[in-house]
Amino acid sequence: MSMESLFNRLKAGRLFSFPGGVKPPERKALSNQTAIAALPLPDKLFVSLKQHIGVEGKVQVKEGDKVLKGQVLTASPNPFAVPVHAPTSGTVTRIGLHAAAHPSGLPEQTIEITPDGLGQWTTLSPIPNYAQLPKMKIIEAICNAGISGMGGAGFPTHLKISSKKDVEFLIINGVECEPYITADDRLMREHAWQIRQGIDILVHLLNPGAVLIAIEENKPEAIDAMRVACKDQSRYLVCPIPTRYPAGGEKQLIQNLLDREVPRKGLPIDVGVIMQNVGTCYAIADAIFSGKPLIERVVTLTGESLQAPGNYWVPLGTPVYHLLNQAKYVSSLQQKKRIIMGGPMMGFTLHTDLAPVVKTSNCVLVPSDQAMPLPPDEQSCIRCAACADACPASLLPQQLYWHAKANELERAQDFNLFDCIECGACAYVCPSDIPLVHYYRRAKADIRIQEQEKQKSDKARQRFEARNARLEREAEERKAKHAEAAERRRQAMQQPADNPQDKIAAALARVQAKKQAAQPDAVPEANEDKVAAAIARAKAKREAQQAQTGEPAKASALADDPKKAQVASAIARAKAKREAQQAQTTETVESASPAASDDAEAAKKARVAAAVARAKAKRDAEKADDAPESDAQPAENAQIDDADAAKKARVAAAVAKAKAKRDAEKADDAPESDAQPAENAQIDDVDAAKKARVAAALAKAKAKRDAEKAASTTETNHQPDDITQVDDAEAAKRARVKAAVARAKAKKAQQQDDPS
């Protein structure tokens, strides 16, 4: 149906419907008779770092810090993070784990603040002229105010309102269908105008076709108040919704108003809808017009065990025990302490009353055992399908239950377990008192665990297969390369030796052979995914191996710290190559020595130098051998790493390159002074010097080229790292160490070469 006809239909008071639902006793009168009241501050506030869906920010204060009211406590560049703020002025007395408002009862990182009682505000920066500012600025202000959805799951508001899609309907959810809870009811009654202001801001940001303010029919005062507040806006429509749980569920409300269904795995915006809770609107207005961050909210304290039930302005972080004291908890009415955070249908029981109020806490319910008896033990399902009749998602809860109970998780998914919104309507009606939702939660958790494990084993299998293929490929490549190199060498040897031209050709051939051996280095890496990363790693390893002795390294498939290994292996590669160059230089020197035998001194020197160089080459080769084996082993397991490490690696490579150049120069010197570079010793004296010079030049060029190649290899091989995440101080450190080692070695080599 078109937007306009829908709007007119709603204006005429005609709604659609949603299937199922239940009508539990409302018991709202318990708490909605009095105005929202303030509470004295507790002696301690416990501000959980994460109070919304997403990620927590980094703590910006430390123990002992004085904080002002409204001062930001956490920050993060992550878009899924919203900051938390100091609810009042005081001292940060502890940062650590504390009981959290979470069904699991697991503690969470929490900043403990001891109020100083002054309530001193930090400097606030309101932007009442928001309409003149760019939208991004407003959204930023909302994010910085720490606002996340205050009705349900606590989705970061700034993400919801940054939607790029067209918004047909902005739905303001004031349905509050859970029994007992009246926080939104009172807020609408008392602060309708501010909610309206918040809506105005949202309208400015989203430019929706119409605004629907949905309120359940059992709140006539709230409906009136909102109507009055919105009466000058023809596109704002207050829609009374028939009282039926869960009419306030996001999906159900959209269905009820618009007869649209949010697609499975989709979002309301997929059907042109953005939904915000009235409390969120209030908080947005606060943030924009007074610059106040979200540091308190209305909480309904209710239940038959409280003598002073009602709605209260509660600073976020207030521990529940303080609330119970203030609302005069009568413990004798409960056999065992039972505190429900949230409503009776979807709320969860707290494991301790130390848990604090968070941004999503709309109610603390402390029923008496009489008013809300504990359910008796579950009985057999009689397949009465009362649950199916109550399910607003049109699921077959009973089938879900059978399969969940029998641990037939696949079957449970066939019955669309994951479309269950855990509203509890089914368990509410079940005559056999089966805790259906509990079964679903467990099954869902089991499925998630299974999936994770499956992913893990799939990855391991892929890795194993990839590795086998790689090893095979490598072996073949190696063989081919060796054969080719040998062929070239033989050809070069067959050339008449007394022609300097030929020697140059031979040297060139050698260079080429080497280049070809190193060719795969130059192949740019696809840096798309882990597979590519694995290949890159594999190649790095292979190169490291080649640099050593050409023997296949024993690669271990399982490893812990791939990034380190990657960096290390890259460096090792560079080093190994450099050593190889040095070794070659040495070789040149060495082979030249017999030719220089005339010159006894030179020969001796050359021999000494050659021996030293040989020893060094051997040592280095061994070292290079060790390094990759120990460090490159971990290389398999991959998801990690980062720009930093890559950068460091590049720096290290550059250093290595520079060093290599220096070494090459040195090598250049040596033959020039006293050695004859030649494969073949049968050359006459006269030409020796000339030839030596030519060969030295070649060696230098080669060294330079190889160094460059090594550098570029390092770079290309590290590209995959750039796209992967996570930090890597360790790898960087290791890279630095390696670089230092390489440098030291280079220096040593230099020194050793010096005498010659």
């Binding site: 006793p25 029994p179 999906k251 269905q255 649209r260 269904e261 949010v262 697609p263 499975r264 795995k265 059907v271 042109g272 413990s331 409960q334 056999q335 065992k336 302490k337 039972r338 505190i339 949230g342 009776p344 249908m345 709320g347 029981t349 707290l350 494991h351 301790t352 319910l365 809300m372 504990l374 359910p375 033990d377 009985q379 057999s380 399902c381 009689i382 397949r383 009465c384 399908a385 199916a388 009749d389 607003p392 049109s394 699921l395 077959l396 009973q398 089938q399 019955f415 669309n416 479309d419 855990e422 509890g424 309507a425 509410y428 009606v429 079940c430 005559p431 056999s432 008192d433 509990h438």
Partner: protein, 353 residues
Amino acid sequence: MTFKVASSPHQHAMRNTAGLMRLVIYCAVPGIVVQGYFFGWGILVQLILAVLTALVSEGVFLALRKRNFERALGDYSAVLTAILLAISIPPLAPWWIVVLGTFFAIVIVKQLYGGLGNNLFNPAMAAYVMLLISFPVQMTAWAPVQALTQFSVNLADAASVVFTGFTTDGYSLGQLQTNIDGVTLATPLDQVRTDLTLGLTYHESLQNEIFNHGMGIGWAWVNLAYLLGGLVLIKTRAINWHIPGAMLGTLAAIAAVMYATDASIYASPAFHLFSGAAMLGAFFIATDPVSAATSNKGRLVYGAGIGLWVYLIRTFGGYPDAVAFAVLIMNMAVPLIDYYLKPRVYGHWSKRR
């Protein structure tokens, strides 16, 4: 102090399984009373026998299975099964019929399948069919409406017949089934079927003294009483209207079509609706939650299927009444119905907007 940790929802509707079963039992009372009024005290004897047998056999069996039998007995499901069976069998059938049937229903059909909620078949109807096939003579010996019989049967007589086969005055069951002229009287459904096979027309058959205004005397009232109880069940949302609605609707619709094509050999819709166990079956038997379809769409199909089979078996089959067979047949189809008629889950739509 430890905290009570429980899973949501924390609030529960007050209706429980036992209460639901009790409600169904209460709603059956008018029908039972009317049935007793027309067919004598036998029904009371059968009820007592059946309920006792049910409780004992369920209790013993649960004890053997090492289940908590107090709670299971407290759910009234066995009692309800027993009641449904007791009111389905001839009021003066020998005691071992009802005892055997109840035992079969509870132990074989229900407990051996895994207890309440796991049985594929409606226990009462499965037992009824078993009895009908095994003991056709006893199971078809419905005593006629009291007003038409030669002898009046008091409670003591009824008990005596059930246990010994003879009244306190020494009359046999066979004698009790006769009218003043000594002619054995059948049930309306039987009468019509027999007459039709004898070449009489449907209307000629209705001339028999057991009919009055085209309805079986007594039977119409019994059905009306069950209809009343059934409406209360729907009103109190103990059952949904879908199964009885679809069953009776289908039965009436087919009967109407057939009656319109040939009124001489096909009974009227009203006759079908108010004869035999039509109302009892529609509201109390087919709606047995355990063995019925579970979605509303499924319930419609299930109910319609029963209505269809009832008509077919009554009209073309060889048994006096068809509700039991029809229910069992559709019980078998339930898994299929449930599988194919799953409601469309929220958000699972093909592109629309």
